[in-house]
Amino acid sequence: MLRTLSRVSELPIIVKQLQKRSHNNNIASGKNNNNSYGMQHCRYSSSFFGLFQNAAQAGVTKTNNYATEATVKVNRPFKLHRLDEGPAEEVKLTKDEALRYYTQMQTIRRLETAAGNLYKEKIIRGFCHLYSGQEACAVGMKAAMRDVDNIISAYRVHGWTYLMGVSPSGVLAELTGVQGGCARGKGGSMHMYSPNFYGGNGIVGAQVPLGTGVALACKYKGNGGMCLALYGDGAANQGQVFEAYNMAYLWKLPVIFVCENNNYAMGTSTERASCNTDYYTRGDALPGIWVDGMDVLAVRSATEFAINYVNTVGPLVMETNTYRYSGHSMSDPGTSYRTREEIQEVRQKRDPITSFKELCIELGLLSADEVKAIDLKVRKEIDEATAFSKTDAELGVSHLWTDVYSNCLESKLRGTISYNLDHIQERKGVNH
């Protein structure tokens, strides 16, 4: 028994109606779809908010008068290229999932804010690209990934690193270049790794063929895994991306080419840089899906569909339409090629975290208190991680010449003082 509501902002009114008519399971909602959320539909089971006596009949469990599961329709419909059927537009969301996604997105947002502040304090030096605004992409994809799946991305990877198992302190410490960092301070902002996460990559587009290679390995090994190869709308114009598409399609490799389209390639907007801004169609023979990248549930649904597709049919391209709030990197104020109003409008109307929070509260999956508790917990964790990243020690100078080769190819490492240094490799790669 599902009820259809027109939009999130109308929900409180609807709830009142439901309370009045709690004996009735069939209430249709208002008609206005032209609101700021686009065509947002929420369908949820009749048991939400614990208003109904017949929850058990609807097949939905509930505890403490709060719904534990709801069915939601994605914010904006998928667009398909060379596909007859697309991802499910109605998706289930459990309370646990709601808690997890909210926590993850909020952690990434806080993490990036902390990174931005550390950069401004000149504690993080060099290049630092923030993911704020794009959280739903990573969290949605991660939610669909299985243990056998892999991911490789570009230089905006602090959030992904955290999602792939590195603690916030591991990320921030890497940014400040201290030994507690996930690459021991040797990689910095763009170079973070963890098992199944083949890292960030500083060269625009270079990770896409790499991800295709990872997919080839998955197929060769027959482990059922696949690889997400992420790139931006700027990298979408690199020749090697098309080389990778072609090979992947020829050999039917389990790879999802994910174009995270945040509308700006550094300072150049998509329409100035791309002859075809429908990035999901740019694989030519490869099928494609367009996804609202500000809707974590849409991204999850599309990724689930895509994982199944690439493992059974062949590669496809997925475009997640998203937005970055910060500049391209910390050295770009991000306001010379777009207006402040544009950024504000996205923040107010499409923010992935705010909209998901509102949805969960309206659906009764999360209470305002729970949200508050998560916010506090996240803030505490990031504050601690920040403190750690400021105080941890740097690696000793001897690590300048570690990890260049698997072992010293000559008797001593060349080029170092007096040729007297042995090569050292202290950590064994996770891929061995």
Partner: protein, 362 residues
């Protein structure tokens, strides 16, 4: 024989200063080139001024690259699109191989092309185009076609916090390719002169611009059109004991080392800015090597197969009997360009000064 003893005595007094090694952010002190008149400019202003003149003097000249229309990430092309229009100054997508190929094609028709590769670290996707197309066009067409009106501008080198992919100095890769010209300016005056010379030169040229100098280097730059000699080294200070050879930012490290060597060790150094990597000024280098008998080459790129190797090999071949000591190289280590370890990686003044001491003690 007396010299070594003096050296040892003075070096012990040097040691306490070494602890101050990493207190400053920048690993070099800038030594401006003096010019008679002009306007105070930093290096990106000077390059901007040079491109302004190039676009003004030559109606066919085009300027393009990633974000170039907005002024470029280092502000070198600021205001040029407004002045010359978006048909002549424009952004490209992020595709270095495409940019290079496109530039070569445009230049093949005789049009003057100034293409910017945003960072030297990003030049490798265009390596094939530059090495296999640009460098060989004239030769393979028997002189019928060439892309000599092509100039690449490429920010390179250490910047203090650039880490692996925003710090490299790839000049030696390209120096292995006959058909190219490669130059590296040490400051604003030179940057303007070299860029204008490259634009005019009938060979494909690459100007590697040390990005740390864009703002740090300020000089009086003449406003008129002028060119600097390509293929000519500059002897910046004369000396009789040791020849120090460098290019780009490293020149400033070596000038400071020359002062330190005189002051602390009583050693008289001659400092040469090589300026041109390909073809390079063998005459100036050999003349100096024969005079001093001791040569130290310093560059940021790694030791093995850095351009210092070529210079050292050439000197031993041509000046063997004049040498008092083996030619020394002080360079980055054979490791990827490190992030947090950058101060330890660079051939800073302390390492170079220590090399001066070693070569005197040989």
């Amino acid at each position: 024989m007396i010299v070594p003893q003096i050296l040892r005595g003075r070096l012990t007094t040097l040691r306490p200063n070494v602890s101050a090694l990493f207190l400053s952010r920048s690993h070099f002190t800038y030594y401006p080139t003096s010019s008679s008149s002009g306007k105070k400019m930093n290096m990106f202003n000077a390059i901007n001024n040079a491109m302004d003149l190039a676009l003004e003097n030559d109606n066919s000249a085009l300027l393009f690259g990633e974000d170039v229309g907005f002024g470029g990430v280092f502000r070198c092309s600021v205001n040029l699109r407004d002045k010359y229009g978006k048909n002549r100054v424009f952004n490209t997508p992020l595709c270095e191989q495409g940019i290079a190929g496109f530039a070569i094609g445009v230049a093949n028709t005789g049009v003057t092309a100034i293409a910017e590769i945003q960072f030297a670290d990003y030049i490798f996707p265009s390596f094939d185009q530059i090495v296999n197309e640009a460098a060989k066009y004239r030769y393979r067409s028997g002189g019928l076609f060439d892309c000599g009106s092509l100039t690449f501008r490429v920010p390179c080198g250490a910047v203090g916090h650039g880490a692996l992919y925003h710090s490299q100095s790839p000049e030696a890769y390209f120096a292995h390719t006959p058909g190219l010209r490669i130059v590296i300016p040490r400051g604003p005056v030179k940057a303007k002169g070299l860029l204008l010379a490259c634009v005019r030169d009938p060979n494909p040229c690459i100007v590697f611009e040390p990005k740390t100098l864009y703002r740090a280097a300020v000089e009086e730059v003449p406003l008129d059109y002028y060119t600097s000699d390509l293929g000519k080294a500059d002897v910046l200070c004369e000396g009789k004991d040791v020849t120090l050879i460098g290019w780009g930012t490293q020149v400033h490290v070596l000038l400071e080392v020359a002062n330190l060597a005189k002051e602390k060790l009583g050693v008289d150094c001659e400092v040469i800015d090589l300026v041109s990597i390909l073809p390079w000024d063998t005459d100036a280098v050999c003349k100096s090597a024969k005079k001093t008998g001791r040569v130290i080459i310093a560059h940021e790129a790694p030791y093995t197969q850095g351009f210092g190797s070529e210079i050292a090999a050439y000197i031993q071949e041509k000046c063997f009997l004049h040498l008092e000591a083996p030619v020394k190289r002080v360079t980055g280590w054979d490791t990827p360009f490190p992030h947090v370890f950058e101060p330890f990686y660079l051939p800073d003044k302390h390492r170079c000064l220590s090399a001066v001491q070693d070569i005197m003690l040989f």
